[in-house]
Protein backbone atom coordinates (compact mmCIF):
# COMPACT_ATOMS: atom_id res chain seq x y z
CA UNK A 1 0.00 0.00 0.00
CA UNK A 2 1.41 3.40 -0.91
CA UNK A 3 -0.14 5.12 2.15
CA UNK A 4 2.72 5.80 4.58
CA UNK A 5 1.15 8.03 7.20
CA UNK A 6 -2.27 9.15 8.39
CA UNK A 7 -2.98 11.91 10.91
CA UNK A 8 -6.35 12.75 12.41
CA UNK A 9 -6.47 16.16 14.06
CA UNK A 10 -9.67 16.08 16.07
CA UNK A 11 -9.45 19.73 17.17
CA UNK A 12 -9.22 21.13 13.65
CA UNK A 13 -11.22 18.28 12.01
CA UNK A 14 -8.36 17.73 9.62
CA UNK A 15 -7.31 14.55 7.92
CA UNK A 16 -3.77 14.36 6.53
CA UNK A 17 -2.73 11.38 4.45
CA UNK A 18 0.75 10.83 3.08
CA UNK A 19 1.32 8.40 0.21
CA UNK A 20 4.42 7.41 -1.75
CA UNK A 21 3.94 6.71 -5.43
CA UNK A 22 6.46 4.98 -7.71
CA UNK A 23 6.28 7.69 -10.36
CA UNK A 24 7.79 11.15 -10.87
CA UNK A 25 6.08 14.26 -9.49
CA UNK A 26 5.11 15.34 -13.02
CA UNK A 27 3.27 12.04 -13.55
CA UNK A 28 1.22 12.42 -10.34
CA UNK A 29 0.45 16.03 -11.25
CA UNK A 30 -0.89 14.76 -14.56
CA UNK A 31 -3.52 12.67 -12.72
CA UNK A 32 -5.05 15.97 -11.51
CA UNK A 33 -4.30 18.01 -14.62
CA UNK A 34 -6.05 15.55 -16.95
CA UNK A 35 -9.81 15.37 -16.33
CA UNK A 36 -10.01 11.86 -17.82
CA UNK A 37 -7.44 10.58 -15.33
CA UNK A 38 -8.91 12.53 -12.42
CA UNK A 39 -12.34 10.95 -12.91
CA UNK A 40 -10.74 7.49 -12.86
CA UNK A 41 -9.41 8.00 -9.36
CA UNK A 42 -11.94 10.34 -7.71
CA UNK A 43 -15.02 8.14 -7.35
CA UNK A 44 -15.23 4.56 -6.13
CA UNK A 45 -16.15 1.90 -8.74
CA UNK A 46 -19.76 1.91 -7.49
CA UNK A 47 -19.98 5.73 -7.84
CA UNK A 48 -17.88 6.59 -10.90
CA UNK A 49 -17.02 10.26 -11.32
CA UNK A 50 -17.42 12.32 -14.48
CA UNK A 51 -15.42 15.56 -14.65
CA UNK A 52 -17.23 18.28 -16.62
CA UNK A 53 -15.40 21.62 -16.26
CA UNK A 54 -11.71 21.51 -15.53
CA UNK A 55 -9.76 24.74 -15.00
CA UNK A 56 -6.87 23.86 -12.70
CA UNK A 57 -5.75 27.47 -12.23
CA UNK A 58 -6.16 30.09 -9.48
CA UNK A 59 -9.82 31.15 -9.45
CA UNK A 60 -10.71 28.26 -11.75
CA UNK A 61 -13.36 25.62 -11.19
CA UNK A 62 -13.42 21.88 -11.59
CA UNK A 63 -16.92 20.40 -11.64
CA UNK A 64 -17.88 16.76 -11.44
CA UNK A 65 -20.71 14.43 -10.69
CA UNK A 66 -20.76 10.92 -9.36
CA UNK A 67 -23.34 8.47 -10.63
CA UNK A 68 -24.85 5.97 -8.20
CA UNK A 69 -26.01 2.44 -9.01
CA UNK A 70 -29.57 3.73 -9.52
CA UNK A 71 -28.42 6.44 -11.91
CA UNK A 72 -28.78 9.20 -9.33
CA UNK A 73 -26.21 11.95 -9.75
CA UNK A 74 -24.33 13.73 -6.96
CA UNK A 75 -22.66 16.89 -8.21
CA UNK A 76 -19.65 18.60 -6.70
CA UNK A 77 -17.22 21.37 -7.46
CA UNK A 78 -13.70 22.47 -6.66
CA UNK A 79 -12.90 26.15 -6.32
CA UNK A 80 -9.18 26.40 -6.97
CA UNK A 81 -7.35 28.99 -4.85
CA UNK A 82 -3.65 28.40 -5.54
CA UNK A 83 -1.70 26.36 -8.07
CA UNK A 84 2.05 25.77 -8.02
CA UNK A 85 2.49 23.27 -10.84
CA UNK A 86 3.61 20.51 -10.36
CA UNK A 87 4.19 20.89 -6.62
CA UNK A 88 0.89 21.81 -5.03
CA UNK A 89 -2.62 23.12 -5.36
CA UNK A 90 -5.29 24.19 -2.90
CA UNK A 91 -9.04 24.21 -3.33
CA UNK A 92 -12.43 24.22 -1.64
CA UNK A 93 -14.50 21.09 -2.34
CA UNK A 94 -18.27 21.42 -2.05
CA UNK A 95 -21.58 19.98 -3.20
CA UNK A 96 -23.59 21.45 -6.03
CA UNK A 97 -26.94 21.20 -7.77
CA UNK A 98 -27.10 19.28 -11.02
CA UNK A 99 -26.23 22.47 -12.93
CA UNK A 100 -23.14 22.89 -10.69
CA UNK A 101 -24.51 25.83 -8.72
CA UNK A 102 -22.85 25.43 -5.29
CA UNK A 103 -25.25 24.15 -2.62
CA UNK A 104 -24.59 26.46 0.36
CA UNK A 105 -26.52 24.19 2.74
CA UNK A 106 -23.93 21.45 2.44
CA UNK A 107 -20.47 21.67 3.97
CA UNK A 108 -17.34 22.69 2.11
CA UNK A 109 -13.89 21.27 2.87
CA UNK A 110 -10.57 23.08 2.41
CA UNK A 111 -7.97 20.92 0.72
CA UNK A 112 -4.25 21.19 0.05
CA UNK A 113 -2.45 18.62 -2.08
CA UNK A 114 1.34 18.69 -2.28
CA UNK A 115 3.73 16.54 -4.27
CA UNK A 116 7.47 16.31 -3.56
CA UNK A 117 10.21 14.12 -4.93
CA UNK A 118 11.07 11.29 -2.56
CA UNK A 119 13.41 8.34 -3.17
CA UNK A 120 13.03 8.58 -6.92
CA UNK A 121 9.24 8.66 -6.66
CA UNK A 122 6.66 11.09 -5.33
CA UNK A 123 5.52 11.76 -1.82
CA UNK A 124 1.98 13.11 -1.93
CA UNK A 125 0.40 14.82 1.07
CA UNK A 126 -3.35 15.30 1.09
CA UNK A 127 -4.95 17.54 3.69
CA UNK A 128 -8.72 17.98 4.09
CA UNK A 129 -10.22 20.27 6.72
CA UNK A 130 -13.86 20.65 7.69
CA UNK A 131 -15.06 23.73 9.53
CA UNK A 132 -17.38 21.81 11.85
CA UNK A 133 -17.79 18.24 13.07
CA UNK A 134 -21.38 18.41 11.84
CA UNK A 135 -20.18 19.29 8.36
CA UNK A 136 -17.73 16.42 8.31
CA UNK A 137 -20.42 14.09 9.53
CA UNK A 138 -22.90 15.27 6.93
CA UNK A 139 -20.44 14.68 4.11
CA UNK A 140 -19.65 11.22 5.34
CA UNK A 141 -23.27 10.34 5.94
CA UNK A 142 -24.02 11.19 2.35
CA UNK A 143 -20.98 9.46 0.94
CA UNK A 144 -21.01 6.63 3.34
CA UNK A 145 -24.41 5.31 2.55
CA UNK A 146 -22.98 4.79 -0.90
CA UNK A 147 -20.32 2.47 0.42
CA UNK A 148 -22.08 1.13 3.51
CA UNK A 149 -18.94 1.67 5.59
CA UNK A 150 -21.18 3.62 7.95
CA UNK A 151 -22.96 0.43 8.83
CA UNK A 152 -19.66 -1.31 9.45
CA UNK A 153 -18.43 1.52 11.65
CA UNK A 154 -21.63 1.45 13.61
CA UNK A 155 -21.13 -2.25 14.16
CA UNK A 156 -17.73 -1.37 15.63
CA UNK A 157 -19.54 0.93 18.03
CA UNK A 158 -21.95 -1.85 18.93
CA UNK A 159 -19.05 -4.20 19.55
CA UNK A 160 -17.13 -1.71 21.69
CA UNK A 161 -17.24 -2.62 25.39
Amino acid sequence: MPVTDVTHDLDTRTLTITADFAAPVARIWQVYADPRQLEKVWGPPTYPATVVDHALEPGGRVTYYMTGPDGEKFAGYWEISTVDEPRSFAFADGFADEDFTPNPELPVSQNVYTFTEHDGGTRATYTSTYETAEGLQQVLDMGVIEGATSAINQIDVLLAP
Binding site: P2, F21, R27, I28, V31, Y126, A151, Q154, V157
Partner: protein, 113 residues
Protein backbone atom coordinates in the same frame (compact mmCIF):
# COMPACT_ATOMS: atom_id res chain seq x y z
CA UNK B 1 -21.85 -8.82 21.74
CA UNK B 2 -24.97 -9.54 23.78
CA UNK B 3 -28.45 -10.34 22.51
CA UNK B 4 -29.58 -6.69 22.51
CA UNK B 5 -26.60 -5.62 20.46
CA UNK B 6 -27.16 -8.48 18.01
CA UNK B 7 -30.74 -7.26 17.64
CA UNK B 8 -29.53 -3.71 16.99
CA UNK B 9 -27.05 -4.94 14.40
CA UNK B 10 -29.79 -6.96 12.68
CA UNK B 11 -32.08 -3.91 12.63
CA UNK B 12 -29.29 -1.70 11.28
CA UNK B 13 -28.30 -3.99 8.43
CA UNK B 14 -31.91 -4.77 7.60
CA UNK B 15 -32.64 -1.03 7.44
CA UNK B 16 -29.68 -0.31 5.16
CA UNK B 17 -30.26 -3.34 2.93
CA UNK B 18 -33.01 -1.59 0.99
CA UNK B 19 -32.43 0.92 -1.79
CA UNK B 20 -35.46 3.08 -0.99
CA UNK B 21 -34.57 3.22 2.69
CA UNK B 22 -30.99 4.27 1.91
CA UNK B 23 -32.41 6.99 -0.31
CA UNK B 24 -34.81 8.16 2.41
CA UNK B 25 -31.94 8.19 4.91
CA UNK B 26 -29.77 10.26 2.59
CA UNK B 27 -32.55 12.83 2.30
CA UNK B 28 -33.30 13.08 6.02
CA UNK B 29 -29.60 13.32 6.89
CA UNK B 30 -29.40 16.41 4.70
CA UNK B 31 -32.39 17.96 6.50
CA UNK B 32 -35.73 17.33 8.17
CA UNK B 33 -38.49 16.12 5.85
CA UNK B 34 -42.17 15.48 6.46
CA UNK B 35 -43.17 11.89 5.78
CA UNK B 36 -45.69 13.11 3.22
CA UNK B 37 -43.00 15.12 1.37
CA UNK B 38 -40.85 11.97 1.32
CA UNK B 39 -43.77 9.91 0.03
CA UNK B 40 -44.09 12.23 -2.98
CA UNK B 41 -40.55 11.31 -4.04
CA UNK B 42 -41.32 7.66 -4.61
CA UNK B 43 -43.57 5.72 -6.88
CA UNK B 44 -45.24 3.91 -3.99
CA UNK B 45 -48.08 4.47 -1.54
CA UNK B 46 -47.85 6.78 1.48
CA UNK B 47 -48.32 3.70 3.69
CA UNK B 48 -45.38 1.94 2.04
CA UNK B 49 -43.10 4.96 2.54
CA UNK B 50 -44.32 5.29 6.12
CA UNK B 51 -43.34 1.67 6.68
CA UNK B 52 -39.84 2.30 5.34
CA UNK B 53 -39.52 5.30 7.67
CA UNK B 54 -40.60 3.09 10.60
CA UNK B 55 -37.90 0.53 9.76
CA UNK B 56 -35.24 3.29 9.76
CA UNK B 57 -36.63 4.59 13.05
CA UNK B 58 -36.45 1.13 14.66
CA UNK B 59 -32.81 0.87 13.58
CA UNK B 60 -32.04 4.17 15.36
CA UNK B 61 -31.08 5.86 12.10
CA UNK B 62 -33.95 8.31 12.02
CA UNK B 63 -36.08 10.16 14.53
CA UNK B 64 -39.60 11.45 14.10
CA UNK B 65 -41.46 14.29 15.73
CA UNK B 66 -45.00 15.57 15.32
CA UNK B 67 -45.78 19.07 14.13
CA UNK B 68 -49.53 19.55 13.90
CA UNK B 69 -50.78 16.95 11.46
CA UNK B 70 -47.31 16.39 10.03
CA UNK B 71 -44.79 13.76 10.99
CA UNK B 72 -41.29 15.18 10.55
CA UNK B 73 -38.34 12.83 10.08
CA UNK B 74 -34.64 13.60 10.47
CA UNK B 75 -31.50 11.49 10.30
CA UNK B 76 -29.93 10.55 13.60
CA UNK B 77 -26.70 8.73 12.93
CA UNK B 78 -25.02 11.38 15.12
CA UNK B 79 -25.83 9.54 18.30
CA UNK B 80 -23.28 6.83 17.67
CA UNK B 81 -20.53 8.68 15.85
CA UNK B 82 -17.51 10.56 17.16
CA UNK B 83 -15.23 12.94 15.28
CA UNK B 84 -12.60 10.23 15.43
CA UNK B 85 -14.75 7.65 13.70
CA UNK B 86 -15.75 10.29 11.14
CA UNK B 87 -12.12 10.98 10.28
CA UNK B 88 -11.55 7.23 10.04
CA UNK B 89 -14.32 7.00 7.48
CA UNK B 90 -12.89 9.91 5.52
CA UNK B 91 -9.56 8.12 5.65
CA UNK B 92 -11.16 5.10 3.96
CA UNK B 93 -12.43 7.30 1.12
CA UNK B 94 -8.91 8.63 0.71
CA UNK B 95 -7.27 5.24 0.85
CA UNK B 96 -9.56 4.17 -1.99
CA UNK B 97 -8.48 7.16 -4.10
CA UNK B 98 -4.80 6.60 -3.41
CA UNK B 99 -5.09 2.91 -4.33
CA UNK B 100 -6.73 3.93 -7.62
CA UNK B 101 -3.92 6.42 -8.40
CA UNK B 102 -1.44 3.64 -7.71
CA UNK B 103 -3.28 1.33 -10.12
CA UNK B 104 -3.48 4.06 -12.74
CA UNK B 105 0.25 4.83 -12.72
CA UNK B 106 1.07 1.10 -12.65
CA UNK B 107 -0.60 0.88 -16.07
CA UNK B 108 2.11 3.24 -17.45
CA UNK B 109 4.88 0.71 -16.92
CA UNK B 110 2.72 -2.13 -18.28
CA UNK B 111 2.30 -0.16 -21.49
CA UNK B 112 6.03 0.49 -21.76
CA UNK B 113 6.92 -3.23 -21.48
Amino acid sequence: MNGDDEDRADALFHALADRTRRDILRRVLAGEHSVSALAEKYDMSFAAVQKHVAVLENAGLLTKRRSGREQLASGDVAAVRSVSSLLTELEQVWRGRIARIDELIALDSTKED
